[in-house]
Symmetry: C2
Subunit: 365 residues, 2 copies
Amino acid sequence: MDRIYVTYAFVGENPAAIADVIRVEQTIEFPYELAPSWIQEEVVGKIEEISSQDKTNHLITISYNPDVAGGELNQLLNVLWGNVSLFPGVKMVDLKLPAQLLQRFVGPRFGIGGLRKLFNAPTRPLVATALKPMGSDAKTLAEVARTLALAGFDLIKDDHSLANQPWATWKDRVTLISQAVNEANATTGGSSVYAPSLNLPFDQISDAAHTAKELGAGALLVIPGITGFDSLRKIASDNSIALPVLGHPAMLGSLVISKDEGISHGIALGTFMRLAGADISIFPNIGGRFSFTSAQCLEIADRSRANLGKLNPIMVAPAGGMTLERIPEMIEMYGKDAALLIGGALSRGHLADNAARMCEMVRAY
Amino acid sequence: MDRIYVTYAFVGENPAAIADVIRVEQTIEFPYELAPSWIQEEVVGKIEEISSQDKTNHLITISYNPDVAGGELNQLLNVLWGNVSLFPGVKMVDLKLPAQLLQRFVGPRFGIGGLRKLFNAPTRPLVATALKPMGSDAKTLAEVARTLALAGFDLIKDDHSLANQPWATWKDRVTLISQAVNEANATTGGSSVYAPSLNLPFDQISDAAHTAKELGAGALLVIPGITGFDSLRKIASDNSIALPVLGHPAMLGSLVISKDEGISHGIALGTFMRLAGADISIFPNIGGRFSFTSAQCLEIADRSRANLGKLNPIMVAPAGGMTLERIPEMIEMYGKDAALLIGGALSRGHLADNAARMCEMVRAY
């Protein structure tokens, strides 16, 4: 395989006509018959297969010359989904990328193996949480982080909604929390890391990543649905940063939530996250505050782990309203290559006790 | 009004319950009853109104303290749509922003008035086109651009699919096309501008905007659905660039295409584009290759022009398979504050003749 293969599900009539439109729309956007014959042959996508389940449900596979993506993630996204996102009834459900193109991506720096070394956790799931609630001042959040680090959490991330609010500005927050977590590590000999959010203005993201590292943060949180998948790629691939990166699904819901349009959960939250270089993909688990199905969650896990050139497989972080009681079921569902993320529920009752209990439960595996 | 007011349409039962979930999800993401009372009062969103059309169709208006957005576009998007994007049956259909927050945004540098001065076009629509097809070398694209500039086009933009492909790399393309357009201007005394695409890697976008200006480009094209709305804000607000910016809708289809989820066409392609600073919002017109309805297109036009603090109103660029025959109808529909964008159709027959005819038709208004 030396081409990009995309399968689009199409709900509607005449799949051959829409296939013909898509292969042109995603490449030359120009009347096909007016293009030079070599462009028709080499640049325009090719219809590889059309199969119909019934009169209105079809699968269309189109292949693209990898040169149309020019080796860049932003243009790859554009070829796969740019203007076709504007078509009703079309959903991207499968994607195969050729080795030649995958070689252009560094991918996840740590991946499952690197995270296991970093956290000295050869086989168990990771223990993760989020600092909340917005409105708390930086000192309060830092004390919460200290408690969680003393309990032995691996990953303590900013709530994705924490940005630059007046109650705790980014710099104050990252300074105090990094310090608290590192002090806790000095006490316990542990290796908890704090992951501040980089949902900041476009022109501050890269500098903030460096600043976070200098201040002692041990990982970073990126929201590619807002700042772009390529912001994640830049942060993950920068050798002068070299920290694990967590990808958060905010705003990416619009890529996956419609039944008949958008992109499959696995491609958007597994493949795209991993191509961009996330070491951990966070997504809403079944049975919490959201509505993903088991099949959708497991597709994310599959795409996070399946072969993808030489790119590292990544950890999944099923989250969104999880509780301690669900830990065994989550491990049953996702296996041990997961970062179990419980946030608000730790504050029901005594935080330090709940945190200790969660660490014990997960480390028992 | 000193709060952010968002109206979400909800398809489902029990709108009061989902309203209560949203106001917490978009702010503290934490069990409401466990939050300090001042955070419940000041930080969590407030349910302002719930109205039900029938058992399953409801409108929910929630207001947010503008401090939750911290004056930053990325966090504003996160508050409005971050995690709620992951909820089925919820669509953002109205948005009102307080003056205090709008003051933090520079918005469109040129807007309708500035573009009219720049193009010496006090009342008529602007004449715009896109350089195609991908696969053409930079010299060929430059000669097409020269022909269009000699014919008197105001705006000659890169096809949004042009990135850094081997057939015409970004630097070569921008160099040769800028030169051709400026030579044509020297011949005609006209003021055609070339708008190269900035759909480039995250860490190259800002430099590329400066390079494009140095090379003689007169405007810039940004794809916020891929590089993020805040990349557009940065490019538009940078005083050392100070060029008009066109916003392209690629990948934003997933925000608007689902009937029951996502964001209304007007908010996504009108308000958000304008908040970020686009001077022109490009979108697929009715009756072309896409499926937007008249009402959806007109909502974009309305939001592009309606009062939004002190932010300039912007031009709309209805596009996507338009032909010369449709110019009168497009002007009838959108009025004169539009950039009429015809691409591939100009190549049916003789390009120079078609280009001249289009300029004549539009200038007749």
